[in-house]
Structure formats: C-alpha cells, structure tokens
Amino acid sequence: MIIEIKEQDGGMKAILNGRLDTPAAVKAQQEIGPLLENADKEIVFDCTNLEYISSSGLRLFLTIRKEASVKGGKVIIENINDEIRKVFMMTGFFNLFEIRNA
C-alpha cells in the first residue's frame, strides 16, 4: 500500500511508502478522501519511506494543500529524501509546504 492514513492528535497523518509514480498516484487519489475531509486540521505526510515521486504524486500534495488553504488547515511534509527534495526544488514545491526533517 502506497498510502496509509491515520488519525492523530489535532489532525491526520499519511504515511507514504515506496514509489509514488503515475499508476500509484492514480490509485492513491482514490484514497485521499479522509485527508480532504480533514483539511481544516493539520495534515502530516510522513515521507521517510517514500523513494520516488513524479508529477502525478506532486499533484496529490497540491490538491490537499489547496483544500487546506480553503478550509484553514495546514500541510506538513516530513523526512523527504534528497532525490525528492530535488524534485520539490525543481517545481517550486519547496515553498508551498512546511517541510521538516526529523
């Protein structure tokens, strides 16, 4: 499973695993309902085990970020690896999210 969603204090946590390529992102798109519904709260993406992301994965983050800005929530992205950091830099996504490293 590429995305695992849990409730946590004050919001939601989404744990991403493996490769978020186009087919995985299309599948994950069907599963982000609980995150969109809770976009008035804090949503934390744990990317410790995320190996790869393509633009369709980035779109997933942006969709949730847009919903959060409408509903007044917050999106935090934790522990992206160097390769994913590069992709965030190339697309300007680095400035759109709160990015934390543990």
């Binding site: 490769r19 390529d21 186009t22 087919p23 299309v26 790869y52 393509s54 633009s55 369709s56 980035l58 779109r59 942006l62 969709t63 970020r65 847009k66 800005s69 160097d82 390769e83 590069k86 992709v87 190339m90 697309t91 300007g92 400035n95 759109l96």
Partner: protein, 150 residues
C-alpha cells in the same frame, strides 16, 4: 524503425536499447526497470538514474494519456542510444500530433492557491534533460531527449 527516427548520436555508441509499451499507465513500472537497467549498465549514479527515470516517466505518461483517443489502443516506443558522454531517448507514437515543447512554461513561483494542478510533467522533462526536441514526421510524434552523462 526507419532512418528518420534514428539517433543523432553516431560515434562511439556503447548502448542501444528499445522498449515498446501500450498506452496504459499501469505499464510504467516496466519503463522504470528499463531505465534502471540502462543506468546500471552505464554505471550511472543513483541520482542520475532517478532523474532520467522521472523525465522519461513524464514524457511517456504524457503520450499514454493524450496521444490516443480514450479507449483507443496505441503504442509508445522508447529508443535509447548512448555513447560515453551522452544519452539520448527518442519517444515515438502514432497518435494525434502534439508538441509538448509548445506547452507554456509553468510559473513555479506561484502560491499554492494560484497554482494550476497540471503542467508539471513537461516542466520536469525540461529541467532534467539538456535538450528536448519535437518533430512530427510520417504520422508520428517524435520527441528526442538528451542528457550529458559524463
């Protein structure tokens, strides 16, 4: 394939590979395997393999999603040629003429609220590759991507 889709790289070729996929995004993992295999064979570092993988995924997904009318089967062919210093990928489909290089550049300084959802794929291709060239010939879209590897 005919000489019109032949590589521009002529001298010192050390690798030639070809992959044909149907217009089904579920086959993208096969593309990753193909790129990883090439990367290992050419002794590239993981970071370069990952970047090439990403550029190729974006370019090929673009064909899979837009070249053929919904419900129509079609193929996308990826021809790879490398010499010691450069790698070239020629992506060929026989779908509707579409030049992705004509797509407007996304403004990556926009806020999340203003950002359109799409357009990032071709932006990533441009960012990663050194050259991106499009031609339409013999009823085929031909997109040539190249990058220095050494």
């Amino acid at each position: 394939m005919n000489e019109k889709t032949d590589s521009e790289l002529k001298e010192g070729i050390i690798l030639k590979r070809q992959l044909t996929l149907p217009n089904d995004i579920k086959t993208i993992p096969q593309l990753s395997e193909f790129i990883e295999g090439i990367g290992e064979e050419l002794d590239m570092d993981m970071s370069l393999i990952m970047s090439l993988n990403l550029a190729l995924e974006e370019a090929v997904v673009n064909v899979m999603e837009y070249a053929y009318a919904p419900g129509t089967q079609g193929n996308v062919c990826i021809k790879t040629t490398a010499n010691e210093t450069q790698i070239e990928f020629i992506i060929i489909d026989s779908g509707i003429p579409f030049d992705p290089t004509k797509k407007e550049e996304v403004d990556i300084t926009m806020s999340a609220e203003e950002r359109p959802i799409g357009g990032l794929g071709i932006h990533l291709v441009r960012e990663i590759m050194d050259t991106v060239n499009y031609e339409y010939k013999d009823n085929k879209n031909i997109l040539t991507l190249s990058k220095k590897i050494k």
